[in-house]
């Protein structure tokens, strides 16, 4: 599932497959800025249905690991 999250982020930001890993952060992924973040959230919403919309803390994550942890904590993945 962690790899799937990486693929969702790559697709949302228009990056090459395999270019994102679980250790990446907003600082290491150039396209993960405010607009890019909307793309990521929108992609997660589409993939996991409407469960993601109610997770406010997802709007303040700063790394791939944090996304995974929040989704796990809320039993989305």
């Amino acid at each position: 599932m962690e790899q799937e999250i990486c693929r969702i982020i790559e697709e949302a930001l228009g990056l090459e497959v395999g270019s994102v890993n679980v250790n990446d952060t907003m600082d290491t992924i150039e396209k993960w800025d405010s607009i890019g973040f909307l793309s990521i959230l929108s992609a997660l919403e589409q993939r996991f249905g409407n469960k993601v919309a109610s997770i406010d803390s997802l709007a303040s994550v700063k790394s791939v690991r944090e996304i995974i942890d929040v989704l796990k904590e809320r039993s989305v993945i």
Binding site: L38, S42, L58, A59
Partner: protein, 324 residues
Amino acid sequence: MNIKITEIEYYLPQKIVTNRDLAKDNPEWDFSLIEAKTGIISRHIARNDERASDLAVNAAERLFQNNNIDKDSIDALIFCTQSPDFLLPTTACIIQDRLNLKISTAAFDFNLGCSGYIYGLGISSSMIKSGISKRVLLLCAETYSKYMSKNDRTSWSIFGDAGAATIIERSDSNKSIGPFILRTDGRGKDKLIVREADCSQINTTENPKQRLFIDGPGIFMFTMQRVPECVKELLAQTEKTINDVDFFIFHQASKVVIDNIARILSLEKSKVFQGYEKIGNTVSASIPIALKQAQEQKLIKEGDLIMLVGFGVGLSWGACFVQW
């Protein structure tokens, strides 16, 4: 007693700023990704000496001229803005004078952003139903561009300046406005904020506190959560289903926001207005502009049941029905 929207007109500043213009000044901004998400390719921006009151006055003058409206029939002027001319006096008073409306006109401002039009319709309806007013001129105008720092890619990608004017009055037909859902969550105040501003002396270069700050992801999550809830709440309150609604006009925030709302609510694309491409997100003016454009494009017709939904800064949101 039914209340109706009689006429709507709007005014856009003459200066147009395209994404290409922005890219010239900011070569590092990648508009291929931005455009795909915002759906916005250009926006109108007020001149340095052009204020929200100018946009509102132009919209109102256009409304009077195009619809042959007697100014003396207006007995209330309500101005929704977050970019007033001055901290005081109330900009509505300045507009009352510039429009040469009679002294017996009630005039006041209220400060709301993207939910402002819904609130404005609610206030207007209440004033008419209570007998305080008979014919209300509701003006919504914003110049957020004056708060935007030159290097703020997110804000420049999204917002545009505009003014809109609406006449609201008693209806003797089936045309109506309401009921309303009005909601607030001030815990989100920091998600879209200008911390300090003297509206006549904005200088975002020297004073960072005068810059607009937007937490895009935070606003997005709020929208995805609250807007579908709000739509369902209004449907439940009126014992209607999505299929009973002929057309939906959401605040024109951006493509990614409206696409996702429509997806979550399983709305048919043909029933959802999308009109941000050439004007951007015009804050409280966006819904009246969208209503007018939907009318011009014949997307709505007399008798249609339309749901209007506004949401944003505050955090504040609301919805209402309009029987067109």
